[in-house]
Subunit: 334 residues, 2 copies
């Protein structure tokens, strides 16, 4: 079994008790439509990266993985709550190959379903906290999850207003990615380490690891969006371009492009009806200018920075799993 296969298997194994917990806490009750809508996206799939980070951070500092399950489930519900609301805000019809919640049940139910998921985050962390986890640690976990949610809200609003803002700097982009992905990654690692009774410096170190891992993860996503074919990507090629997403690749390219290249990029960016040929032309330009390589190098920089933070964590199986995970997702499919 390759490292990649091993880590995929471990993701699935770690997800099992988490999925069982979520299935229980979202068991349909009256009004059924609310619970069905809340379960819909979580049941439609997802890699369960966040629960994995939570459980493994708990184990890495010597905690019992079972103690982390309600918290890992809480953070997966938190992730899904933001996705349900983001899909309404972005008016996206499909996610994980299934119709989005508002497409299936309408905007009012989608808003309520997201709110219910958000409330269930805190129910999982308090009512379902294992006895061995002190109230003081529970309070810290609530605080960590809350801080991440605030960053997610801020990140989503920045994201919604990005396509209209022409002048986006690299720092803006990294901070937007921080809000949208890393904030929750960090919260997962910090919550896991807190539940596992980690020392304050271990909680911090695992949080920083996860923060940088989140940036690398998003940069690789952007890289694949600009280089991979449809089969590898699992979604139409060029979506990021057609949606006008200001990824690091685009930011770099617009800075480096000659006038004609710049015109070609701008003619496709945010143009929902851009042809496949125009998209392919721009992909070639992005490669020629070196923008895709630039993003890849940046991702590798964040990956190696992330790894360094784990220096304060003793060598153990869970730490190795965390290192394998980041290795796996920064080197997937290329």
């Amino acid at each position: 079994m390759s490292n990649g296969e091993a880590i995929k298997w471990k993701l699935v194994e770690t997800a099992k008790p988490v999925d069982a917990f979520i299935d229980g806490i979202l068991r349909p009750r009256r009004p059924e439509v609310l619970y069905e809508a809340s379960r819909h996206l979580i049941l439609a799939g997802g890699k369960r990266l966040r629960p994995f980070l939570t459980v493994k951070a708990c184990e890495a500092v010597g905690g019992s993985p079972g103690d982390a399950v309600p918290f890992a489930s809480a953070l997966e519900m938190l992730h899904n709550f933001t996705l349900v609301h983001d899909d309404v805000m972005d008016n996206d019809p499909v996610r994980r190959g299934a119709p989005t919640v508002h497409t299936k049940w309408g905007v009012p139910i989608a808003i309520a379903a997201g709110d219910l998921l958000f409330a269930k985050v805190f129910e999982a962390m308090t009512t379902h906290a294992p006895e061995g986890v002190s109230a003081k640690r529970v309070k810290s976990c609530v605080e960590i999850a809350t801080r991440a949610t605030i960053e997610l809200c801020e990140g989503q609003v920045l994201d919604v207003s990005f396509p209209r803002t022409m002048d986006v700097s690299e720092d803006d982009y990294i901070s937007m990615v921080g809000g949208k992905t890393s904030a929750l990654f960090r919260a997962c690692a910090e919550v896991g380490a807190t539940v596992g009774r980690g020392k304050a410096r271990q909680v911090r170190a695992l949080g920083r690891f996860a923060w940088d891992a989140g940036i690398a993860f998003q940069l690789i996503d952007d890289y694949l969006g600009a280089t991979a074919d449809e089969k590898t990507l699992g979604k139409p090629v060029g979506n990021d371009l057609r949606e006008g997403k200001k990824t690091l690749i685009i930011i770099h390219a617009l800075r480096k492009a000659r006038p004609r290249q710049r015109d070609a990029i701008l003619s496709v960016l945010g143009n929902a009806s851009a042809s496949r040929e125009a998209i392919d032309g721009v992909k070639t330009i992005l490669r020629d200018i070196g923008s895709t390589d630039y993003a890849l190098k940046k991702a590798e920089k964040y990956t190696s920075s992330a790894k360094k933070y784990l220096g304060t964590i003793p060598d153990n199986a869970a730490k190795k799993d965390l290192l394998d995970l980041i290795e796996y997702f920064t080197h997937r499919q290329y």
Copy 2:
């Protein structure tokens, strides 16, 4: 100063530190639009009944009112979070005399603003918990607020689907009101009593007081909606009827009405363009059948039941304030 004036003055006094706290925790930062949208409705007004319940319940069990302020503020933000999202769901253009958040900034920002308010509830309860409030009590408060939010979500979805459901029973209505109003009232009293180090039975008693007070409060609101004039009401007369709200009054009337009266009621109910004359005709029918009196009697029943629960609380100024409050709002304007 009459009892009514005294209690109004006390509401204003109790609101001051709460408003200052909320102003601080929602102080604009980047992205400004998100924070402006989150502050908008809270700054537009509101009676601050929920913070009052929280602070007075804390004092009634011997706690310090200052300890309750972050929690009282949290619960007012929780209330406003549900209003912002409910207004999107119900597509209401105006609240508290100001344009609703989605009317002013659009649906995406309104969703994010509600989510931010919800997250701030837990920031207030954890990061800003006074040192004297133990982590165990903070954990209980988070649990109480979460349970109320879940009931609010369920109540809102039931409410959204009510106008379409012709067959609504009295019990359905009371349970809907429970979810929409009493759940949060109860949470306020329970959180306040918890922060004030109340005994478990005092926390429960104050919660039950607030639950019944919430039902009475809503029944009186319905009563005024069907009997008062525009000046007393502060909003157009007949709104409840035009929106097709199945209040207890309507439920009673549809059960008791003769065929011609029933037809008149149904011709107005949920008919946005019903004339002022038709509305006035139906108001007369509701009075003649005895439906408005029926709701008023029911409200008084809940008021006196609420009061009884305070038997386990020692006589003190805060307990008197709670009794005055319920007296005031069940006897306002008639």
